[in-house]
């Protein structure tokens, strides 16, 4: 009879469904969303490319000057990520020495262009 009582209680209370898209589901801060790279801190060390399990990060040319541990270095490469192949595991964020490549709060979203690259 506990089922019956709960059914009748539920009839007079609010449903638990979150009415997306009018209301949004609350997302925690630690959510692993879309991959992004802040260009100023990246030193192009290729660690992200080496640890990526899906091998979606390639290093492309991008010569620039970056400040690292008090010195200005002239770096040559920067990473390019295939956005829709990324599995959002977070290993690149974990192994990046300058906290440059990271997973953002928002989703990768959907799209029809398969070749979206994030640099």
């Amino acid at each position: 009879m506990s089922v019956l009582r709960e059914m009748i209680e539920n009839l007079f209370s609010r449903p638990v469904t979150i009415l997306y898209p009018v209301k949004k589901v609350p997302i925690p801060d630690t959510f692993r969303g879309r991959v992004a790279n802040t260009g100023e801190r990246c030193i192009g060390c290729s660690k992200c490319s080496l640890v990526c399990p899906a091998q979606v990060i390639t290093m492309i040319d991008g010569p620039r000057d970056v400040e690292f541990k008090g010195k200005i270095l002239a770096r040559k490469k920067r990473p390019q990520v295939d956005l829709y192949k990324c599995i959002r595991c977070g290993l690149c964020e974990r192994h990046c020495p300058t906290e440059s490549i990271h997973l953002e709060h928002r989703h990768a979203g959907t799209g029809t262009d398969r070749d979206v690259r994030v640099t």
Binding site: V3, L4, M7, N10, L11, T17, L19
Partner: protein, 324 residues
């Protein structure tokens, strides 16, 4: 009410074809909404059953290999026509204008036709799932039909007539039959749940066991009509039980302007069928599916014997008090 134009209006517009169609969709919406709210979900919007019907009418009709297309097309139409015809004998606004002595039997017969239609569909589909589903549908029919008919026979015995309208008039002068025959009311509700093939008796259409049973090969307009048939059966069944046990659309006293009387009767009809729907929806939400051999057990051991007991009690009451 012998004017042929009025009778045609009664049969086709209100409370016949169009009203029945609209009310069937409305009750289907309410059923799904109540079930959803009991499970703490939101449920479908108001126009959902109508949208489903229109959508299914527009879908492609797939004919499996070697299936007799003409018969396949005809069966859902026959089933729909049967339950719609059954509804015109049930009192909706006052008594039915086409009532005659014995129309209770006709209504019960017409309401059996959709189950036989499902069996035929299952058998003709040349599909193992449909065949098993069709056999289960007929097995279930044999099991619940006996107590269901017995439970609906006792109001006729007590009122001394085989016409639904006269039973309703009898209740207007005496008590509602639900107070005189509570056991019969419960058995009739269980029987109606089994006839409509809703949980816990949705054995022919067990989705997780035999895909969709006899409904597997129905597509497009055939599925739309068959689905409408089950929704109209819900209305006809609820209206029948409301008329036989809950007093139908008649007040114990008549009000002075005729239109007020008719409107009040219609309001009572709506209220009583909604009450029956609430009970049926609660049973659907609170239980899981039975197995066919378990239904066999329960049906014959408990439900049929209880119905027989009710018949016995009614015969005794009749002999002692009711008949002059």
């Amino acid at each position: 009410m012998t004017d042929p134009v009025l009778i045609l209006l009664y049969i086709f517009v209100f409370p016949g074809f169009f009203f029945l169609f609209a009310y069937a969709l409305f009750l289907s919406y309410l059923d799904r909404k109540i079930a959803a709210r009991m499970q703490q979900r939101v449920g479908p919007p108001f126009w959902q059953p109508f949208a489903d019907f229109i959508k299914m009418l527009g879908k492609e009709v797939i004919n499996p290999d070697g299936v007799d297309v003409k018969v396949f097309d005809a069966i859902p139409l026959v089933a729909l026509a049967a339950v719609m015809t059954a509804f015109i004998y049930v009192p909706v606004i006052g008594l039915s204008p086409v009532a005659f002595s014995g129309d209770l039997v006709v209504v019960l017969y017409l309401m059996t036709l959709p189950t036989l239609a499902l069996f035929l569909l299952g058998w003709l589909s040349r599909n193992i799932f449909s065949a098993i589903g069709g056999i289960r549908a007929v097995t279930q029919l044999f099991i619940y039909e006996v107590p269901f008919f017995l439970a609906l026979l006792t109001p006729a015995v007590m009122a001394g007539s085989w016409s639904i309208s006269e039973i309703v008039v009898w209740q207007q002068h005496n008590l509602w039959l639900v107070f005189l025959q509570p056991i019969g009311f419960v058995v009739a509700l269980i029987g109606l749940q089994a006839k409509l093939e809703r949980t816990p008796f949705d054995i022919p259409e067990a989705e997780t066991e035999i895909v969709a049973g006899p409904w597997t090969e129905l597509t497009g307009r055939r599925l739309a009509l068959m689905h409408l048939t089950s929704e109209v059966s819900l209305v006809t069944g609820s209206a029948l039980i409301a008329a036989l046990f809950l007093g139908g659309p008649l007040l114990p006293w008549t009000l002075s302007p005729v239109w007020l009387n008719v409107a009040a009767g219609f309001g009572l009809f709506l209220a009583k069928t909604l009450a029956v729907l609430l009970i049926l929806s609660s049973i659907t939400v609170a239980t899981g599916r039975l197995r066919i051999d378990q239904l066999n057990d329960i049906g014959w051991k408990y439900i049929a014997s209880v119905a027989l007991v009710q018949v016995g009690i009614v015969l005794v009451i009749n002999y002692l008090w009711v008949t002059p």
